[in-house]
Structure formats: structure tokens, C-alpha cells
């Protein structure tokens, strides 16, 4: 039986609060952790089916034009340049394959062929020796040198911002630039494809199996039910594995043509070129406020880029309409069509760069207005969503700011440039954290075996986030079992389709479907023992109702199965759903060299119910570290002449290393959001990055008086503003 829930109304009383097992929320260690640290968790590139062949992608060496000819590859079995090969990765949640046809080159580094050989080294050598001729054409690669598109549905204005700017007591009007970013997942994109008759099985590192299956079927030219995707372990995604990429399509086509399994693993350089980048952004922010710091005007203009014809554009201003109150507002969103690599979702698309820059602007306005930056934010928190008037599902920004200020000893912060230790200026900074929240349709099946053990099955993925563990905890809590009595099976597209991992929606969406499946089983247990489900207590394998208590396995005569099906409903529209928090940073700036060292960071977050304190904290630590990278180290450099990515390995693209990251503190506010289903849990994965970099950049200004508006704040940007 399927228990179905469409979230059309708030659920004030969460049934999870009445369960007896007491395991939900606890800091349970990752269930699959031992497998990962002992090498027994096998990833896509580690599959070794009988007769495996190795495919190596060949990349275009021109920024745009046509492939005229591709030579032979001595030492390889075959060079495949099938018209089905895709030009760039699918966007998340697309239900069709992306544009195919590799002979038309749209950016330097595009995959144009795959060379297959019996040995990886032979395929690599043959791919490198391959002679390709092109007809190149001149194309724009600089987003600021073309006339951008301004889609009507992405512009909005309320009131008269220009007038508000004229009339204001204090204003801010500045331009920021953020560079392209890469997701930089540890596991490179990899696929192992195998055909059995008309059925294709692909082991790949993907975040969302149900839609990736549709994309791959469309790309290869078969039906979705002929495709099975397996992704039991995924070594990080951060958006880069939301949709299919060239690896799986090339492996599938090669395996089809050669009648043997084929594996395609991207090199790190190929991951840089072929995984979606986060678009660089140019952001103009205008703020106007009265003498008391009440905002009267908010303007946020974004310029982003993508390839011609690609629908995704970095949603820079996503949170701007509802974060702060102001009567006069304007949002401008422009898209430059340039031939850099394809842009897509990377680490909290939208707020990661949008809220970070906006929070820098708020800091500048606070300084101009002579108001404490925490106080300025507190004075501008709206009661209801500006423009629409909708209520917020829950709203913890004020509490996050106040709690953070106390925990971080914000009152120790001194005026700009007033604190020094030796050659180091010391400063403190704050920023709000905000991220939109959503649920995605999700299904799961739970089987309670006669021995009292449960099996959870869903095509949900665990991309390093802890899905296995939290889904196990939800099932254990609902069925009254120890966590080790629950087996969680994920990452198989033959299982009921879940939300997948992306947009921070995975835990709440797939978690709710697992809860619903377990609730269905609870009702079956209640029927067996003869009581209402509401009167049932399940704990440690015991079934209790009234004075009756029986072992679960004694009650069961066979296995029980429940299906759970969650659909988002009216609460998507009736309320504004978001997660909130605050970021705090204390940094040091070297007065000579301009080096910045972060001394401590605190993140205070509200995400509804915390499902697992340990994995939730880890999510936030990762996000805050990415925020540190955005502020200080990370930049994808594009060649100014052909747009190609110059910094295409992890030695040149600077993810923060251990020495960059100080002790990070995470504090969760107690929160229960009744509009997001019975779990009362919201997304968390992305909140940690949204605004974190701004706290650091604002702290830099507090330390030494330098505003860096061209990220990242590397030493050259700092010394340009320091007195000699």
C-alpha cells in the first residue's frame, strides 16, 4: 500500500515528535563510513565487469566551429564520433538529453569523440595522437563585451528606486565581480556502461537518478525503462552531477557499438572543462535607507553568462526579493551569450554568490549610515514576504543574528582599522545566511521483514552528505528499531524514484517519503495488534499499545511492505519557505603582504528539525569552507582570447587547504517548520555557503579598511588598497 502526502497545509503536530525510539536527530556516524575508509565502497570508476574496455574523451581544441575530420587512432580499437555525443552536461532535473552533435563545437574543451582501447593507457595515447581538423569561427568569450539578453520574466520593479536613491539619507551604489567557480567534487565524473540485449546499465556518479535516466535514454535513443542507473556511492556532487555528462553517453554508445562494457573516466582537466561551471557574475547593488537605517530602496542587477541556447542562468537575485524590506525595489537579470564552457548549478546556485555580494553591500551601507551591521540587518527584516505579502513558513534570521552576536562576542568588534597584532590587522565581520527551500516529489519503499529488520529502498543518492544514515534514522525512529536493524539501499534507478540530491531538498523530500512508507507499515502493525495507529508505540523491536507489549518479530507472520509518496503541494505557494542563519568571521590581514588568514568562523543556522546532528554539522562545515574559498582563494581563470579554462587542476584552482581553514563552529537553532511536511525539516546542504564569504570580506574591511569587490580577495587585491 502506498501512503501518499501532498503538502497542501501545515502539519502543526509532527508525528515524529511522538515516536519512542529516540534516534532521530542523534549524531549517528555514517552507516557506510567504514566501507568508504576501507575502500570497500566501490565508485563508478572502480567497476571491472568482464571484458571491460576503456574509453577516453577527445576534446575540441578550438573555441567554436566545425570538426572537419578526425583521423585514425593507431593502438586503439575505434574512434567514435557518433552524432548522439552530447556537447555539454544536462541541467539538473531536465527530462531530455542535452544538445547532441559533437561536430559542432561550442566551446574549447567540448567532447568531440571517444577513443576506445583494451587498455586505458593505449586509449589515452591514441586520443592524444589523434589528428583533428577544424573550421574555426570567431566567437565572443567575454561576457562584458556582448549585448546581453534581458528576459522579461526575470526583471521586476516595485515603486521608484531611482527616486528612493535621490531621497535617501544614505545610499550605496557599487559593482562587484565574482569569477567562475567549479564544483570540484573529489570523485571525477565516471561511467561504466554495459548492454544486455536492449537494456543499458550504467554505473555512474550522479546526484539525481530518475531524471538522469530519462536524459540518458533520450541521448542514447532508447526508452527510460531500458536504462538502469547505479550510483550507490558518489564522491561529491555540489551540482556538477545533477545531470548526465559526456562520460555516460560516450560509454553507452561505445558499449553498444562494440558489444562489450566500456568505462569512461574524466581526467581532472576534463572535469573542469565538461562539468558545469558556476557563471562569473557582475552585480550592481543599490541600497537606500533613512536616517535610522530603514531601507527604502533595494536594487540588484546581475549579469551572468552561458552558451547560446542553454536555459540555465545563475539565479543571482533569487533571495533578494524576500530577504529585506524596502518599498522601492528593482531586480535586473541579464545573460551574456558567450562561448565559455557550459554554466549550470554549482554549490547553492543563486544565493552563494548573490547573497554573499548583497551582504557585502549591507556592510558598506551600515558603515555609511554609522549603524552596527547586525543592527542594520535587524531593522530591515520583513514581517511577511515583501511584494507578495505571503507569510514566511518560519523565520529565524533575527534570532540567528542575536544568538550569533552573543556566541561570537560581537561586542568585541572595534571600529575599522583599530585592532592590530604585530604585522596583522584583525577584523570581524557578519553576514546573514539565506537560502530558498523546496520539496521535490519523492518515493520510497520500506519492507519490514518477519525477523523485525527493515529494508529501505529508494533511488535517492548519498553524495557524501549522509543520506544513508538519516534515512536509516527516520525508518528506525518510525518503526521503533535500532539503526543497525535497518538496511538502507540507495542509488539504483530500479528502486522507487526519489528527489535525488540537489538544491538542499534531498533530506526533507526523500526523508518524508521514507517516513510515509514507514507510517504505512505502522498502520499495518496496528491492524495486526488491533489498535489505532495513533495508539501504537514502537520501540526497540517491541510493539506496545495500552497494557499490551509484544516483540515485533513475534507479531509478524510475514513481511510488511509500505510505499511512501511525497508531493509538494499548496504550501509551496501559500508561504515563503526559506532557511536562515548568520555567518561570523574573525580574520587577520598582513599589513605588508595583504595575505588574509581566517582565525575563526561561526555559523548559526535554522533548518527546521535537524535529522542528524553530526552529518548536518558536516554539511555546514563544508559550506562554510566553500564560502571561505569564494572569499579568498577560488577563481576559474578563462583565457581572454578563446575563453578556455586556464586553471584546470586542483593545484591551480585553489580550493582552501587545511592550513586555510581555522576551527569552524556551527550552532543550530531549535526550529520546527510546519509547512514542509511531517518531518518539519528543511534543506541544509547549501545554507552554509550562502553569505559565509561576505562575513570574511566584511571582516577584511573591518581589519584594514579595504573593500574587495572583485572576488577572491587574494593578496594583490588587498595591497592595492593598503597604504604603502
Amino acid at each position: 500500500m502506498t501512503r501518499h502526502l501532498k503538502v497542501d497545509a501545515p502539519i502543526p503536530d509532527s508525528p515524529l515528535d511522538h515516536m519512542a525510539q529516540g534516534v532521530l536527530g542523534k549524531p549517528v556516524s555514517r552507516l557506510e563510513g567504514p566501507l568508504k575508509v576501507t575502500g570497500r565502497a566501490t565508485y563508478a570508476a572502480e567497476a571491472r565487469p568482464e571484458g571491460l574496455l576503456y574509453g577516453v574523451l577527445v576534446q575540441a581544441a578550438i573555441p567554436a566551429g566545425k570538426v572537419l575530420s578526425i583521423g585514425d587512432a593507431p593502438g586503439a580499437m575505434v574512434v567514435i564520433h557518433d552524432p548522439r555525443l552530447i556537447r555539454y552536461a544536462a541541467q539538473g532535473m531536465a527530462t531530455e538529453g542535452p544538445t547532441a552533435g559533437p561536430d559542432e563545437v561550442e566551446y574549447m574543451g567540448q567532447a568531440i569523440a571517444v577513443v576506445v582501447a583494451e587498455a586505458l593507457e593505449a586509449a589515452q595515447a591514441a586520443a592524444q595522437a589523434l589528428q583533428v581538423t577544424y573550421e574555426a569561427k570567431d566567437v565572443p568569450v567575454d561576457p562584458e563585451a556582448v549585448e546581453p539578453e534581458r528576459p522579461e520574466d526575470k526583471q521586476s520593479a516595485t515603486g521608484d528606486l531611482d527616486r528612493a536613491m535621490q531621497d535617501a539619507s544614505h545610499t550605496l551604489d557599487q559593482i562587484w565581480h565574482t569569477p567562475s567557480h567549479t564544483a570540484a567534487a573529489m570523485e571525477p565524473h565516471a561511467a561504466t556502461a554495459e548492454w544486455s540485449g536492449d537494456t543499458l546499465t550504467v554505473r555512474a556518479g550522479y546526484q539525481m537518478l530518475a531524471t538522469s535516466r530519462e536524459q540518458l535514454a533520450d541521448a542514447v535513443g532508447i526508452k527510460p525503462d531500458q536504462v538502469r542507473l547505479l550510483a550507490p556511492y558518489v564522491g561529491g556532487g555540489f551540482g556538477s552531477k545533477l545531470g548526465i555528462n559526456a562520460d555516460s553517453v560516450a560509454a553507452a554508445i561505445a558499449a553498444q557499438q562494440l558489444g562489450r562494457p566500456v568505462q569512461v573516466v574524466m581526467t581532472r582537466q576534463q572535469v573542469f572543462d565538461l562539468a558545469h561551471r558556476r557563471s562569473e557574475t557582475r552585480q550592481r547593488i543599490r541600497l537606500a535607507c533613512d536616517t535610522q537605517g530603514k531601507l527604502t530602496g533595494i536594487g540588484h542587477e546581475a549579469l551572468v553568462s552561458n552558451l547560446p541556447g542553454v536555459s540555465f542562468s545563475e539565479p543571482v537575485t533569487q533571495a533578494t526579493p524576500f530577504t529585506y524590506q524596502a518599498a522601492h525595489r528593482q531586480i535586473v537579470h541579464a545573460i551574456a551569450r558567450v562561448h565559455r564552457s557550459c554554466a549550470g548549478s554549482v554549490r547553492a546556485p543563486g544565493e552563494a554568490v548573490g547573497a554573499t555580494v548583497f551582504e557585502c553591500a549591507m556592510d558598506e551601507l551600515a558603515e555609511t549610515a554609522g549603524i552596527d551591521p547586525v543592527e542594520l540587518r535587524l531593522r530591515n527584516i520583513p514581517d511577511t514576504e515583501p511584494c507578495t505579502g505571503r507569510p514566511f513558513s518560519s523565520h529565524k534570521l533575527a534570532e540567528a543574528l542575536r544568538e550569533g552576536a552573543a556566541r561570537f562576542n560581537w561586542s568585541d568588534r572595534r571600529p575599522t582599522g583599530q585592532r592590530r597584532e604585530g604585522d596583522w590587522y584583525i577584523g570581524m565581520g557578519v553576514a546573514s545566511a539565506v537560502r530558498v527551500n523546496s520539496l521535490i516529489e519523492s518515493r520510497a519503499r520500506v519492507t519490514l521483514q518477519a525477523d523485525g529488520r527493515a529494508i529501505v529502498e529508494t533511488d535517492m543518492t548519498d553524495i557524501g552528505t549522509g543520506s544513508y544514515t538519516i534515512l536509516g534514522q527516520i525508518a528506525a525512529e518510525t518503526l521503533g528499531l535500532a539503526v543497525d536493524r535497518v538496511e538502507v539501499r540507495l542509488g539504483d534507478s530500479d528502486f522507487p524514484p526519489a528527489s535525488g540530491s540537489g538544491g538542499s531538498f534531498g533530506a526533507a523530500s526523500s526523508g518524508t517519503s521514507v517516513y510515509l512508507a514507514c507510517a504505512e507499515i505502522r498502520s499495518q502493525i496496528a491492524a495486526l495488534i488491533g489498535c489505532d495507529e495513533a495508539d501504537l508505540t514502537l520501540q526497540n523491536g517491541q510493539v506496545r499499545t495500552g497494557n499490551v507489549s509484544r516483540p515485533l518479530d513475534a507479531l509478524l507472520t510475514g513481511e510488511l511492505t509500505g510505499d511512501g509518496h511525497l508531493e509538494p503541494g499548496k504550501t509551496e505557494d501559500t508561504v515563503r519557505q526559506a532557511t536562515w542563519g548568520s555567518h561570523w568571521a574573525e580574520i587577520a590581514v598582513n599589513r605588508w603582504t595583504g595575505e588574509v588568514r581566517v582565525r575563526r568562523m561561526l555559523g548559526v543556522f535554522a533548518c527546521g528539525r535537524v535529522l542528524n546532528e553530526k552529518t548536518a554539522r558536516s554539511q555546514c562545515l563544508g559550506g562554510m569552507t566553500f564560502g571561505l574559498g569564494m572569499a579568498l582563494t577560488e577563481a576559474m581563470a578563462h583565457d581572454p582570447r578563446d575563453g578556455h579554462i586556464v586553471t584546470r587542476d586542483l593545484a591551480e584552482y585553489h580550493i582552501p587547504c587545511h592550513a586555510d581553514v581555522p576551527p569552524l563552529e556551527v550552532h543550530f537553532l531549535t526550529e520546527s517548520d510546519t509547512y514542509v511536511g511531517p518531518l518539519h525539516a528543511k534543506g541544509l546542504g547549501e545554507l552554509g555557503i550562502c553569505g559565509a564569504g561576505a562575513a570574511i570580506l566584511n571582516a577584511i574591511h573591518n581589519a584594514c579598511g579595504v573593500r574587495v569587490r572583485e572576488l577572491p580577495a587574494t593578496p594583490d587585491k588587498i595591497i592595492a588598497g593598503l597604504q604603502s
Binding site: 595583504g594 584546470r648 582552501p656 593578496p715
Partner: protein
């Protein structure tokens, strides 16, 4: 990677003609995978007896196969040549230092991204093809001693310290010789593919350190993240003070040229003077008088100046609060 023959040498002369030497392989293997270097033959020298640190006159002889991590941790090095230890620890990562050798470190190639990208022209990789870094992304390129043919930098840290320490390179060849580090590297001029004075068939057997220089020794490396990044600018400084005046000064710079840079004129300017920001600034100006940027790396000029002043303030004991 192109096919190659592999031979494990048992003696110094047990090397096939034309074979490229591999020791730690921390750079060469990457270059081979990218087909930036395509040796037809490799000779692995790691079985040779070149891994000792031993007395040599008043100084030390460091075998070419001594690992970076062992060299940095050696008690005599730490006591008498702290500059060398600090420079080594500022380079690469723990894992790489465990593999990288003294001789191999001297021979590492530039990290210019266009050198590694075989789609792009590069006079160092393919003489006559052009320089893509000029007009391209050149944030970490040379401001001193570059040429229209090449603006790449020597990327290492160890050699910068060795340059300040007046080290020599011991080379085994039909005509064995010792080359001062000052003469070991060549500026690009018209032949950026020729990076050192090493001739075909020669092998580095050791690095020779003179008697300890004493004084205050500093290695100050400024980079884009706190560890595991190449220097934007680095300064190796040895400063001896007498009666609050600078009695001895040796300064070498990394990240700014195709070789560790040293300017005797700037050192002479410091000798006999009382330390001051003005003095250090004058020394920096002298060093930088021929410096030029290529757009992305213009900042290295003020950064080198600032880093030199900070390093000298530290090495001469000037108060940080001044």
C-alpha cells in the same frame, strides 16, 4: 602518455644514452601524462647511493637523492641552514616532499599553465610556436629577466634558499664540475627550452653548501592560499647584524623570474646601514628597476617590494609596531 623504455640504474654510468632521468617523479610523471615531455627512455636512479647528507669541508654535501622531507627535517640543516629547511617546508605538500628529491627539485619545470596545455603555443615546450602567456592569463609569471619568447617562472622554493646560501651543484659528466647555483639556471632569451647549464648525459650528484652563514635566516613565501600553492613572490634572506647595522646580507627571490633572482647591488646597498623602511625600500627599488609586468602579474612589483620590506624588518629585528 607515449610508450617509453625503463631502466633502473645500478651505477652512475649505468644510464642508456639519451635516457631522461627519473627520481621522485613528482613533476616528470605529470609532464609525461600530458605529453609535455615525451622521453623515449627513462632511467630510474633511485637505487643509486646518492641519499646521504655528509660533511664537506666547512659545509655539507647533500646527495641528489635526499628527499625533500628528510632534508627539511635533518638536525644539522635545521641548526645551521634553517633557511633551507624553511624553504623546503614552504613547498608542495607533505606527500610530495616525501617523494621529491634534491636533484629533481632543481630540475623541476615551470608551472606556466600554457606550458602544460599542448593545445596552446609555448616556446619552452615547442620552440618557435610562440608564447600564449603573453596576452593570456599570466598572474603568476615573471617580472624580471623575461623575454618576448617566454615569461615563465622557475616555480620552486628550495633553489631560492640555495641561491641565498651560495650553494653549488655537483655534476657528474665526462668532465665533472661544480656549478654555482648563480650560474645553473639560464634566463629564457631566445631559447626558453634551455633552462639550465646541464648538458646531455650529465647528472646532478649533489648540492654543496658552504660553511654556515649564521645570522638571521628567513624564508617568506606569499601565495594565494596558505599552503600547497606556488609562490607569487618569495624572499630568502640571510642577515647578519653588528652594532645595529647590517653587516651581511644575502637576498634571493622566487616566483619572479625563470631563476631564483639575486641582486648583489641591493645587498651592497644594505651593508653598513642601520635598518629602516626607507633603506629597505631603496633596496627593493634597485632590484625592481628593470621589472615589468604583463597585465595579470603587475601586482608582483609592489608585492615583492612589500614582502622584502617585511622580511628585512623581521630579519633585522625592527619592531613590528613601527
Amino acid at each position: 602518455m607515449k610508450p617509453f623504455t625503463y631502466h633502473r640504474a645500478s651505477t652512475l654510468t649505468d644510464r642508456p644514452a639519451g635516457a631522461t632521468i627519473i627520481a621522485g617523479g613528482t613533476n616528470l610523471l605529470d609532464l609525461m601524462k600530458h605529453e609535455v615531455m615525451t622521453p623515449k627512455a627513462l632511467v630510474d636512479i633511485t637505487a643509486l647511493d646518492l641519499n646521504r647528507i655528509e660533511a664537506h669541508g666547512d659545509g655539507l654535501r647533500i646527495g641528489a637523492l635526499v628527499r625533500n622531507s628528510d632534508l627539511a627535517a635533518d638536525p644539522v640543516i635545521r641548526r645551521d641552514y634553517p633557511l633551507l629547511s624553511r624553504a623546503l617546508l614552504a613547498g608542495a605538500s607533505g606527500q610530495l616532499r616525501n617523494m621529491a628529491t634534491t636533484g629533481g627539485n632543481l630540475m623541476q619545470r615551470t608551472r606556466c599553465p600554457y606550458f602544460y596545455d599542448t593545445r596552446m603555443p609555448c616556446n619552452k615546450r615547442e620552440p618557435g610556436s610562440g608564447c600564449a602567456a603573453i596576452g593570456g592569463v599570466n598572474r603568476n609569471h615573471a617580472i624580471l629577466g623575461a623575454s618576448p619568447a617566454c615569461i615563465a617562472t622557475y616555480p620552486g622554493d628550495m633553489a631560492v634558499a640555495l641561491r641565498a646560501l651560495d650553494a653549488e651543484v655537483e655534476i657528474e659528466s665526462p668532465a665533472p664540475r661544480q656549478v654555482p647555483l648563480s650560474e645553473f639556471y639560464r634566463l629564457p632569451a631566445d631559447t626558453p627550452d634551455v633552462e639550465t647549464v646541464m648538458r646531455p648525459g650529465e647528472i646532478i650528484t649533489a648540492v654543496l653548501l658552504p660553511a654556515p652563514a649564521g645570522g638571521q635566516q628567513r624564508y617568506r613565501k606569499v601565495r594565494d592560499r596558505a599552503s600547497y600553492a606556488f609562490a607569487l613572490v618569495s624572499v630568502a634572506a640571510i642577515i647578519g647584524m653588528e652594532n645595529n647595522r647590517i653587516a651581511h646580507a644575502a637576498l634571493a627571490f622566487g616566483g619572479v623570474a625563470a631563476k631564483p633572482w639575486r641582486d648583489p647591488g641591493a645587498e651592497a646597498l644594505l651593508i653598513g646601514q642601520e635598518p629602516s623602511d626607507t633603506l629597505f625600500g631603496r633596496a627593493a627599488d634597485l632590484i625592481l628597476q628593470s621589472a615589468g609586468g604583463y597585465g595579470g602579474n603587475d601586482f608582483k612589483i609592489p608585492l615583492l617590494r612589500r614582502t622584502l620590506i617585511a622580511t628585512l624588518r623581521d630579519a633585522t629585528g625592527m619592531e613590528a609596531t613601527a
